[in-house]
Protein backbone atom coordinates (compact mmCIF):
# COMPACT_ATOMS: atom_id res chain seq x y z
CA UNK A 1 0.00 0.00 0.00
CA UNK A 2 1.40 3.34 -0.96
CA UNK A 3 0.65 6.73 0.57
CA UNK A 4 -1.28 7.82 -2.49
CA UNK A 5 -4.80 6.88 -1.38
CA UNK A 6 -4.52 8.82 1.84
CA UNK A 7 -2.63 11.79 0.44
CA UNK A 8 -4.80 12.29 -2.61
CA UNK A 9 -7.82 12.41 -0.30
CA UNK A 10 -6.09 14.89 2.01
CA UNK A 11 -5.14 16.94 -1.04
CA UNK A 12 -8.74 16.97 -2.30
CA UNK A 13 -10.37 17.87 0.99
CA UNK A 14 -7.84 20.65 1.72
CA UNK A 15 -8.25 21.97 -1.78
CA UNK A 16 -12.05 21.97 -1.47
CA UNK A 17 -12.07 24.23 1.60
CA UNK A 18 -9.16 26.32 0.32
CA UNK A 19 -11.30 27.14 -2.72
CA UNK A 20 -14.12 28.34 -0.44
CA UNK A 21 -11.78 30.59 1.57
CA UNK A 22 -10.02 31.87 -1.52
CA UNK A 23 -13.25 32.83 -3.22
CA UNK A 24 -14.29 34.84 -0.17
CA UNK A 25 -10.89 36.54 0.17
CA UNK A 26 -10.80 37.47 -3.51
CA UNK A 27 -14.29 39.00 -3.38
CA UNK A 28 -13.56 40.85 -0.13
CA UNK A 29 -10.24 42.21 -1.38
CA UNK A 30 -11.94 43.46 -4.53
CA UNK A 31 -14.80 45.23 -2.78
CA UNK A 32 -15.64 44.34 0.81
CA UNK A 33 -19.15 45.79 0.47
CA UNK A 34 -20.22 43.54 -2.39
CA UNK A 35 -19.19 40.09 -1.20
CA UNK A 36 -21.85 37.63 -2.37
CA UNK A 37 -24.08 36.19 0.32
CA UNK A 38 -23.19 32.67 -0.96
CA UNK A 39 -19.49 33.21 -0.35
CA UNK A 40 -20.21 34.73 3.06
CA UNK A 41 -22.52 31.88 4.09
CA UNK A 42 -20.10 29.18 2.95
CA UNK A 43 -17.30 30.57 5.10
CA UNK A 44 -19.60 31.16 8.05
CA UNK A 45 -20.90 27.59 7.87
CA UNK A 46 -17.36 26.25 7.60
CA UNK A 47 -16.28 28.19 10.71
CA UNK A 48 -19.30 26.92 12.64
CA UNK A 49 -18.49 23.34 11.63
CA UNK A 50 -14.90 23.80 12.76
CA UNK A 51 -16.06 25.09 16.13
CA UNK A 52 -18.36 22.21 17.05
CA UNK A 53 -16.14 19.15 17.47
CA UNK A 54 -18.86 16.77 18.61
CA UNK A 55 -21.16 17.24 15.66
CA UNK A 56 -18.58 17.67 12.91
CA UNK A 57 -18.35 15.17 10.04
CA UNK A 58 -15.35 12.96 9.37
CA UNK A 59 -14.19 15.25 6.53
CA UNK A 60 -14.44 18.39 8.65
CA UNK A 61 -12.62 16.61 11.46
CA UNK A 62 -9.69 16.00 9.10
CA UNK A 63 -9.66 19.63 7.95
CA UNK A 64 -9.97 20.81 11.54
CA UNK A 65 -7.01 18.70 12.54
CA UNK A 66 -4.91 20.19 9.72
CA UNK A 67 -5.86 23.74 10.71
CA UNK A 68 -5.29 23.24 14.45
CA UNK A 69 -1.86 21.69 13.84
CA UNK A 70 -0.88 24.67 11.68
CA UNK A 71 -2.28 27.27 14.09
CA UNK A 72 -0.54 25.66 17.07
CA UNK A 73 2.78 26.15 15.29
CA UNK A 74 1.97 29.63 14.11
CA UNK A 75 0.23 31.17 17.11
CA UNK A 76 2.35 29.63 19.88
CA UNK A 77 0.74 31.45 22.83
CA UNK A 78 -2.90 31.70 21.76
CA UNK A 79 -4.97 28.49 21.73
CA UNK A 80 -6.20 27.71 18.23
CA UNK A 81 -9.74 27.15 19.58
CA UNK A 82 -9.85 30.76 20.82
CA UNK A 83 -8.59 32.03 17.47
CA UNK A 84 -11.33 30.16 15.60
CA UNK A 85 -14.06 31.22 18.04
CA UNK A 86 -13.01 34.83 17.62
CA UNK A 87 -13.13 34.54 13.84
CA UNK A 88 -16.53 32.84 13.95
CA UNK A 89 -17.89 35.65 16.13
CA UNK A 90 -16.67 38.21 13.60
CA UNK A 91 -18.79 36.51 10.94
CA UNK A 92 -21.78 36.14 13.26
CA UNK A 93 -21.58 39.87 13.95
CA UNK A 94 -21.37 40.79 10.24
CA UNK A 95 -17.70 41.72 10.63
CA UNK A 96 -16.35 39.00 8.33
CA UNK A 97 -14.82 41.52 5.94
CA UNK A 98 -13.04 43.56 8.62
CA UNK A 99 -9.26 43.81 8.10
CA UNK A 100 -8.63 41.64 11.17
CA UNK A 101 -11.03 38.89 10.07
CA UNK A 102 -9.55 38.90 6.57
CA UNK A 103 -6.08 38.55 8.03
CA UNK A 104 -7.22 35.62 10.14
CA UNK A 105 -8.97 33.97 7.20
CA UNK A 106 -5.82 34.36 5.11
CA UNK A 107 -4.01 32.39 7.80
CA UNK A 108 -6.54 29.53 7.53
CA UNK A 109 -6.14 29.63 3.75
CA UNK A 110 -2.37 29.39 4.20
CA UNK A 111 -2.80 26.36 6.47
CA UNK A 112 -4.82 24.55 3.82
CA UNK A 113 -2.55 25.72 1.01
CA UNK A 114 0.48 24.34 2.84
CA UNK A 115 -1.31 21.01 3.39
CA UNK A 116 -2.20 20.85 -0.32
CA UNK A 117 1.45 21.40 -1.20
CA UNK A 118 2.62 18.78 1.29
CA UNK A 119 0.02 16.17 0.31
CA UNK A 120 0.83 16.75 -3.37
CA UNK A 121 4.55 16.25 -2.71
CA UNK A 122 3.89 13.11 -0.67
CA UNK A 123 1.77 11.71 -3.52
CA UNK A 124 4.64 12.20 -5.94
CA UNK A 125 7.26 10.58 -3.76
CA UNK A 126 5.00 8.01 -2.17
CA UNK A 127 6.66 4.94 -0.77
Amino acid sequence: MSDVGLNSNIYDISSKYLTILNRFLVEANYDSTTVSSDAMKEVQMFLHQLSTPLSMSFQIQMVSQIIHTYLKEYLRNQPSEVFLQHLMLSFDNQMGTSPEALKQLALLAEALNEECDNAFSRMRVSR
Partner: protein, 376 residues
Protein backbone atom coordinates in the same frame (compact mmCIF):
# COMPACT_ATOMS: atom_id res chain seq x y z
CA UNK B 1 3.74 40.46 -12.73
CA UNK B 2 0.03 40.60 -13.59
CA UNK B 3 0.79 40.12 -17.31
CA UNK B 4 3.15 37.28 -16.53
CA UNK B 5 0.42 35.50 -14.55
CA UNK B 6 -1.97 35.99 -17.46
CA UNK B 7 0.58 34.49 -19.84
CA UNK B 8 0.89 31.44 -17.56
CA UNK B 9 -2.90 31.12 -17.45
CA UNK B 10 -3.06 31.16 -21.27
CA UNK B 11 -0.29 28.58 -21.47
CA UNK B 12 -2.07 26.36 -18.93
CA UNK B 13 -5.36 26.56 -20.85
CA UNK B 14 -3.55 25.46 -24.01
CA UNK B 15 -1.98 22.52 -22.21
CA UNK B 16 -5.32 21.48 -20.74
CA UNK B 17 -6.97 21.60 -24.17
CA UNK B 18 -4.14 19.54 -25.63
CA UNK B 19 -4.57 16.96 -22.87
CA UNK B 20 -8.10 16.25 -24.08
CA UNK B 21 -6.74 15.24 -27.48
CA UNK B 22 -4.62 12.50 -25.89
CA UNK B 23 -7.65 10.42 -24.97
CA UNK B 24 -8.33 7.61 -27.45
CA UNK B 25 -11.69 7.70 -29.22
CA UNK B 26 -13.47 5.70 -28.04
CA UNK B 27 -11.54 4.64 -24.94
CA UNK B 28 -11.51 0.91 -24.12
CA UNK B 29 -14.64 -0.20 -22.30
CA UNK B 30 -13.13 -0.42 -18.78
CA UNK B 31 -11.70 3.10 -19.12
CA UNK B 32 -14.72 5.00 -20.42
CA UNK B 33 -15.89 6.19 -17.00
CA UNK B 34 -12.36 7.37 -16.21
CA UNK B 35 -12.11 9.18 -19.56
CA UNK B 36 -15.43 10.90 -18.86
CA UNK B 37 -14.17 11.99 -15.42
CA UNK B 38 -11.00 13.40 -17.00
CA UNK B 39 -12.94 15.37 -19.63
CA UNK B 40 -15.25 16.79 -16.98
CA UNK B 41 -12.37 17.81 -14.70
CA UNK B 42 -10.35 19.34 -17.54
CA UNK B 43 -13.36 21.41 -18.65
CA UNK B 44 -13.97 22.53 -15.07
CA UNK B 45 -10.37 23.69 -14.78
CA UNK B 46 -10.43 25.46 -18.15
CA UNK B 47 -13.50 27.46 -17.18
CA UNK B 48 -11.88 28.35 -13.84
CA UNK B 49 -8.73 29.43 -15.69
CA UNK B 50 -10.82 31.66 -17.97
CA UNK B 51 -12.36 33.25 -14.89
CA UNK B 52 -8.93 33.68 -13.35
CA UNK B 53 -7.80 35.42 -16.52
CA UNK B 54 -10.62 37.86 -17.04
CA UNK B 55 -12.79 38.33 -13.92
CA UNK B 56 -12.49 41.91 -12.60
CA UNK B 57 -11.78 40.81 -9.03
CA UNK B 58 -8.60 39.08 -10.20
CA UNK B 59 -7.31 42.27 -11.87
CA UNK B 60 -6.67 44.20 -8.63
CA UNK B 61 -3.18 44.20 -7.11
CA UNK B 62 -4.41 42.99 -3.75
CA UNK B 63 -5.60 39.72 -5.31
CA UNK B 64 -2.51 38.77 -7.30
CA UNK B 65 -1.19 36.47 -4.58
CA UNK B 66 -4.59 34.75 -4.33
CA UNK B 67 -4.64 34.52 -8.11
CA UNK B 68 -1.24 32.83 -8.07
CA UNK B 69 -2.35 30.46 -5.30
CA UNK B 70 -5.43 29.38 -7.29
CA UNK B 71 -3.35 29.03 -10.44
CA UNK B 72 -0.84 26.81 -8.69
CA UNK B 73 -3.63 24.57 -7.38
CA UNK B 74 -5.07 24.19 -10.89
CA UNK B 75 -1.61 23.39 -12.30
CA UNK B 76 -1.24 20.68 -9.65
CA UNK B 77 -4.68 19.26 -10.46
CA UNK B 78 -3.89 19.18 -14.18
CA UNK B 79 -0.54 17.54 -13.44
CA UNK B 80 -2.30 14.69 -11.68
CA UNK B 81 -4.86 14.35 -14.48
CA UNK B 82 -2.07 14.20 -17.07
CA UNK B 83 0.44 12.04 -15.21
CA UNK B 84 -1.97 9.59 -13.67
CA UNK B 85 -5.38 9.38 -15.29
CA UNK B 86 -4.75 10.29 -18.95
CA UNK B 87 -1.48 8.33 -18.87
CA UNK B 88 -3.34 5.25 -17.62
CA UNK B 89 -5.82 5.52 -20.48
CA UNK B 90 -3.39 6.37 -23.25
CA UNK B 91 -0.78 3.76 -22.28
CA UNK B 92 -3.21 0.92 -22.02
CA UNK B 93 -1.74 -2.56 -21.49
CA UNK B 94 -3.36 -5.92 -22.18
CA UNK B 95 -3.10 -6.81 -18.49
CA UNK B 96 -5.39 -3.88 -17.66
CA UNK B 97 -8.39 -5.92 -18.76
CA UNK B 98 -7.38 -8.78 -16.45
CA UNK B 99 -6.95 -6.59 -13.40
CA UNK B 100 -10.21 -4.78 -14.12
CA UNK B 101 -12.08 -8.07 -14.18
CA UNK B 102 -10.52 -9.04 -10.85
CA UNK B 103 -11.43 -5.72 -9.21
CA UNK B 104 -14.98 -5.86 -10.58
CA UNK B 105 -15.39 -9.39 -9.25
CA UNK B 106 -14.04 -8.44 -5.81
CA UNK B 107 -16.51 -5.55 -5.63
CA UNK B 108 -19.34 -7.91 -6.52
CA UNK B 109 -18.24 -10.55 -3.99
CA UNK B 110 -17.91 -8.18 -1.06
CA UNK B 111 -20.97 -6.09 -2.03
CA UNK B 112 -18.78 -2.99 -2.24
CA UNK B 113 -20.93 -0.10 -1.08
CA UNK B 114 -19.83 2.40 -3.74
CA UNK B 115 -21.94 1.72 -6.85
CA UNK B 116 -19.20 2.18 -9.47
CA UNK B 117 -16.11 -0.01 -8.89
CA UNK B 118 -12.78 1.69 -9.55
CA UNK B 119 -11.10 1.45 -12.92
CA UNK B 120 -7.88 -0.52 -12.57
CA UNK B 121 -4.62 0.05 -14.40
CA UNK B 122 -1.39 -1.95 -14.43
CA UNK B 123 0.63 1.26 -14.66
CA UNK B 124 1.71 1.80 -11.06
CA UNK B 125 5.34 2.65 -10.53
CA UNK B 126 5.07 2.08 -6.81
CA UNK B 127 3.04 -0.83 -5.50
CA UNK B 128 -0.73 -0.40 -5.09
CA UNK B 129 -2.16 3.12 -5.36
CA UNK B 130 -5.71 4.41 -5.45
CA UNK B 131 -6.71 7.86 -6.67
CA UNK B 132 -10.21 8.37 -5.27
CA UNK B 133 -10.82 11.58 -7.25
CA UNK B 134 -10.60 9.50 -10.47
CA UNK B 135 -11.86 6.27 -8.94
CA UNK B 136 -8.64 4.78 -10.34
CA UNK B 137 -6.66 1.95 -8.81
CA UNK B 138 -3.11 1.34 -10.07
CA UNK B 139 -1.13 -1.85 -9.57
CA UNK B 140 2.32 -2.89 -10.81
CA UNK B 141 2.57 -4.39 -14.28
CA UNK B 142 3.07 -8.02 -13.24
CA UNK B 143 0.53 -8.07 -10.43
CA UNK B 144 -2.07 -10.02 -12.42
CA UNK B 145 0.32 -12.96 -12.74
CA UNK B 146 0.67 -13.49 -9.01
CA UNK B 147 -1.69 -14.06 -6.11
CA UNK B 148 0.01 -13.49 -2.76
CA UNK B 149 -0.16 -9.68 -2.72
CA UNK B 150 -3.59 -9.31 -4.32
CA UNK B 151 -5.32 -9.10 -0.89
CA UNK B 152 -3.88 -5.58 -0.70
CA UNK B 153 -6.45 -4.59 -3.33
CA UNK B 154 -9.06 -4.78 -0.57
CA UNK B 155 -7.16 -2.20 1.51
CA UNK B 156 -7.11 0.23 -1.40
CA UNK B 157 -10.83 -0.24 -1.97
CA UNK B 158 -11.44 1.09 1.54
CA UNK B 159 -9.85 4.52 0.94
CA UNK B 160 -12.75 5.98 -1.08
CA UNK B 161 -15.15 5.02 1.73
CA UNK B 162 -13.80 7.88 3.85
CA UNK B 163 -14.47 10.62 1.34
CA UNK B 164 -17.70 9.71 -0.43
CA UNK B 165 -20.25 12.34 0.59
CA UNK B 166 -24.03 12.21 0.98
CA UNK B 167 -24.24 8.41 0.97
CA UNK B 168 -26.39 6.95 3.72
CA UNK B 169 -24.83 3.47 3.41
CA UNK B 170 -21.29 4.78 3.90
CA UNK B 171 -22.12 7.49 6.46
CA UNK B 172 -21.98 5.13 9.48
CA UNK B 173 -18.48 3.97 8.47
CA UNK B 174 -17.26 7.58 8.46
CA UNK B 175 -19.05 8.30 11.73
CA UNK B 176 -17.22 5.41 13.42
CA UNK B 177 -13.89 6.68 12.10
CA UNK B 178 -14.72 10.13 13.39
CA UNK B 179 -15.83 8.86 16.81
CA UNK B 180 -12.71 6.77 17.14
CA UNK B 181 -10.49 9.80 16.56
CA UNK B 182 -12.46 11.65 19.26
CA UNK B 183 -11.34 8.84 21.61
CA UNK B 184 -7.75 9.16 20.39
CA UNK B 185 -7.81 12.94 20.91
CA UNK B 186 -9.20 12.59 24.43
CA UNK B 187 -6.54 10.03 25.25
CA UNK B 188 -3.64 12.20 24.07
CA UNK B 189 -5.09 15.34 25.67
CA UNK B 190 -5.27 13.48 28.99
CA UNK B 191 -1.73 12.06 28.89
CA UNK B 192 -0.42 15.47 27.79
CA UNK B 193 -1.97 17.07 30.87
CA UNK B 194 -0.55 14.35 33.10
CA UNK B 195 2.87 14.84 31.53
CA UNK B 196 2.71 18.57 32.18
CA UNK B 197 1.78 17.93 35.83
CA UNK B 198 4.18 15.11 36.60
CA UNK B 199 6.98 15.28 34.08
CA UNK B 200 7.47 19.03 33.36
CA UNK B 201 5.89 18.43 29.96
CA UNK B 202 8.95 16.64 28.64
CA UNK B 203 6.90 14.61 26.19
CA UNK B 204 4.31 17.20 25.18
CA UNK B 205 5.87 17.73 21.74
CA UNK B 206 5.84 13.98 21.07
CA UNK B 207 2.26 13.56 22.26
CA UNK B 208 1.18 16.39 19.96
CA UNK B 209 2.93 14.73 17.02
CA UNK B 210 1.34 11.32 17.79
CA UNK B 211 -2.10 12.81 18.29
CA UNK B 212 -1.84 14.55 14.94
CA UNK B 213 -0.43 11.44 13.21
CA UNK B 214 -3.22 9.26 14.57
CA UNK B 215 -5.68 11.25 12.41
CA UNK B 216 -4.00 9.66 9.38
CA UNK B 217 -3.05 6.40 11.08
CA UNK B 218 -6.63 5.54 11.98
CA UNK B 219 -7.53 5.81 8.27
CA UNK B 220 -4.83 3.28 7.37
CA UNK B 221 -5.85 1.07 10.30
CA UNK B 222 -9.49 1.16 9.18
CA UNK B 223 -8.41 0.27 5.62
CA UNK B 224 -6.49 -2.70 7.06
CA UNK B 225 -9.56 -3.71 9.03
CA UNK B 226 -11.71 -3.49 5.91
CA UNK B 227 -9.05 -5.61 4.18
CA UNK B 228 -8.97 -8.35 6.78
CA UNK B 229 -12.77 -8.41 7.14
CA UNK B 230 -13.37 -8.76 3.41
CA UNK B 231 -10.30 -10.75 2.28
CA UNK B 232 -9.98 -12.85 5.45
CA UNK B 233 -6.69 -14.34 6.71
CA UNK B 234 -5.10 -13.82 3.27
CA UNK B 235 -4.94 -10.13 4.14
CA UNK B 236 -2.96 -10.81 7.33
CA UNK B 237 -0.56 -13.02 5.39
CA UNK B 238 -0.15 -10.35 2.71
CA UNK B 239 0.76 -7.82 5.40
CA UNK B 240 3.41 -10.19 6.76
CA UNK B 241 4.71 -10.77 3.23
CA UNK B 242 4.88 -7.09 2.32
CA UNK B 243 6.60 -6.18 5.60
CA UNK B 244 9.13 -9.00 5.22
CA UNK B 245 9.97 -8.10 1.64
CA UNK B 246 9.77 -4.32 1.65
CA UNK B 247 9.32 -3.05 5.21
CA UNK B 248 11.86 -1.08 7.20
CA UNK B 249 11.85 -1.11 11.01
CA UNK B 250 8.40 -2.49 11.96
CA UNK B 251 8.59 -0.68 15.33
CA UNK B 252 9.53 2.73 13.98
CA UNK B 253 8.10 5.59 16.08
CA UNK B 254 8.19 9.13 14.67
CA UNK B 255 9.20 11.54 17.43
CA UNK B 256 8.74 14.88 15.70
CA UNK B 257 7.74 14.29 12.12
CA UNK B 258 4.47 13.88 10.31
CA UNK B 259 3.73 10.30 9.34
CA UNK B 260 0.89 8.97 7.22
CA UNK B 261 1.22 5.21 7.87
CA UNK B 262 1.34 3.56 11.27
CA UNK B 263 4.23 1.19 11.79
CA UNK B 264 3.94 -2.42 10.65
CA UNK B 265 3.89 -3.90 14.15
CA UNK B 266 0.90 -1.78 15.20
CA UNK B 267 -0.88 -2.63 11.97
CA UNK B 268 -0.33 -6.33 12.55
CA UNK B 269 -1.64 -6.08 16.12
CA UNK B 270 -4.85 -4.50 14.84
CA UNK B 271 -5.19 -7.15 12.11
CA UNK B 272 -4.73 -9.93 14.70
CA UNK B 273 -7.33 -8.37 16.98
CA UNK B 274 -9.83 -8.32 14.13
CA UNK B 275 -9.15 -11.96 13.22
CA UNK B 276 -9.97 -12.75 16.85
CA UNK B 277 -13.26 -10.80 16.61
CA UNK B 278 -14.08 -12.85 13.51
CA UNK B 279 -13.40 -16.10 15.43
CA UNK B 280 -10.62 -16.99 12.98
CA UNK B 281 -8.42 -18.03 15.88
CA UNK B 282 -6.36 -20.67 14.07
CA UNK B 283 -5.45 -18.24 11.32
CA UNK B 284 -4.68 -15.56 13.89
CA UNK B 285 -2.29 -17.85 15.77
CA UNK B 286 -0.53 -19.03 12.61
CA UNK B 287 0.01 -15.49 11.37
CA UNK B 288 1.15 -14.31 14.81
CA UNK B 289 3.69 -17.15 15.02
CA UNK B 290 5.21 -16.32 11.63
CA UNK B 291 5.17 -12.60 12.49
CA UNK B 292 7.22 -13.22 15.63
CA UNK B 293 9.64 -15.42 13.69
CA UNK B 294 10.07 -12.66 11.11
CA UNK B 295 10.76 -10.13 13.87
CA UNK B 296 13.57 -12.37 15.12
CA UNK B 297 15.57 -11.78 11.95
CA UNK B 298 14.57 -8.25 11.06
CA UNK B 299 16.41 -5.04 11.89
CA UNK B 300 14.83 -2.82 14.54
CA UNK B 301 13.43 -3.57 17.94
CA UNK B 302 10.61 -2.28 20.06
CA UNK B 303 11.82 0.70 22.08
CA UNK B 304 10.31 2.25 25.19
CA UNK B 305 8.43 4.89 23.16
CA UNK B 306 6.45 2.38 21.13
CA UNK B 307 3.80 1.92 23.83
CA UNK B 308 3.42 5.68 24.25
CA UNK B 309 2.75 6.23 20.55
CA UNK B 310 0.73 3.05 20.07
CA UNK B 311 -0.89 2.20 23.42
CA UNK B 312 -2.20 -1.38 23.37
CA UNK B 313 -5.64 -0.27 24.59
CA UNK B 314 -5.93 2.24 21.75
CA UNK B 315 -5.00 -0.42 19.20
CA UNK B 316 -7.71 -2.68 20.64
CA UNK B 317 -10.24 0.16 20.55
CA UNK B 318 -9.22 0.81 16.97
CA UNK B 319 -9.80 -2.83 15.99
CA UNK B 320 -13.17 -2.76 17.74
CA UNK B 321 -14.39 0.48 16.13
CA UNK B 322 -13.06 -0.48 12.70
CA UNK B 323 -14.72 -3.89 12.89
CA UNK B 324 -18.02 -2.24 13.84
CA UNK B 325 -17.57 0.31 11.02
CA UNK B 326 -17.20 -2.46 8.42
CA UNK B 327 -20.21 -4.24 9.93
CA UNK B 328 -22.24 -1.04 9.61
CA UNK B 329 -21.85 -0.86 5.83
CA UNK B 330 -23.01 -4.46 5.45
CA UNK B 331 -20.34 -5.82 3.14
CA UNK B 332 -19.98 -9.59 2.74
CA UNK B 333 -17.17 -10.48 5.08
CA UNK B 334 -15.10 -13.51 6.06
CA UNK B 335 -15.55 -16.23 7.21
CA UNK B 336 -18.92 -16.41 5.45
CA UNK B 337 -17.56 -15.20 2.15
CA UNK B 338 -17.70 -17.77 -0.68
CA UNK B 339 -16.60 -15.73 -3.70
CA UNK B 340 -14.12 -17.16 -6.18
CA UNK B 341 -11.45 -14.47 -5.65
CA UNK B 342 -11.76 -14.74 -1.87
CA UNK B 343 -11.38 -18.52 -2.02
CA UNK B 344 -8.49 -18.37 -4.49
CA UNK B 345 -6.49 -15.86 -2.42
CA UNK B 346 -6.94 -17.74 0.84
CA UNK B 347 -6.25 -21.07 -0.84
CA UNK B 348 -3.09 -19.55 -2.32
CA UNK B 349 -1.76 -18.75 1.13
CA UNK B 350 -2.63 -22.24 2.47
CA UNK B 351 -0.85 -23.73 -0.53
CA UNK B 352 2.15 -21.44 -0.09
CA UNK B 353 2.75 -22.58 3.47
CA UNK B 354 1.92 -26.22 2.77
CA UNK B 355 4.38 -26.56 -0.08
CA UNK B 356 6.40 -23.45 -0.98
CA UNK B 357 8.55 -25.28 -3.52
CA UNK B 358 5.69 -26.32 -5.78
CA UNK B 359 3.72 -23.13 -5.16
CA UNK B 360 4.80 -21.37 -8.35
CA UNK B 361 3.48 -24.17 -10.52
CA UNK B 362 0.22 -24.23 -8.59
CA UNK B 363 -0.03 -20.44 -8.78
CA UNK B 364 0.54 -20.31 -12.54
CA UNK B 365 -2.26 -22.81 -13.07
CA UNK B 366 -4.60 -20.96 -10.73
CA UNK B 367 -3.88 -17.57 -12.30
CA UNK B 368 -4.63 -19.03 -15.74
CA UNK B 369 -7.91 -20.46 -14.45
CA UNK B 370 -8.84 -17.20 -12.79
CA UNK B 371 -8.30 -15.11 -15.89
CA UNK B 372 -10.12 -17.56 -18.12
CA UNK B 373 -13.22 -17.53 -15.92
CA UNK B 374 -16.21 -15.50 -16.93
CA UNK B 375 -16.04 -13.14 -13.95
CA UNK B 376 -16.61 -9.74 -15.49
Amino acid sequence: MQHYLEAIITETIERAKRLKTRLPTPPPIHFQVLAQTCLMLIDKHISFLNLLYSAPEYQVNLNQSNRLRVLKTIVKDLDIIENVAVSAISRLHKDDTKINKVVQQICKEIDYPIPVPPTASALSTNYYQIYPQFNLLCVPLLECDFLLHLPDLYHELAHPLFWTENDSRIGPFQDRAKEFYDIVSEYFDRVTLEDQRNNRGNMVVNYNVWKSNWANWRIEFFCDIFGVCTAGPAYGWAHLHLTTKRGSNPFEVPLYSKSTHPNDEARMQVILNVLEYMHLTDAKESIEKRWKEMQGITAGQKNSLYDFAYPADLLKECAFHGFRAVGDIQCNIAPNQTGVIFRTLNEAWDQYWADPTSFSTWERKKVKELHSMDIH
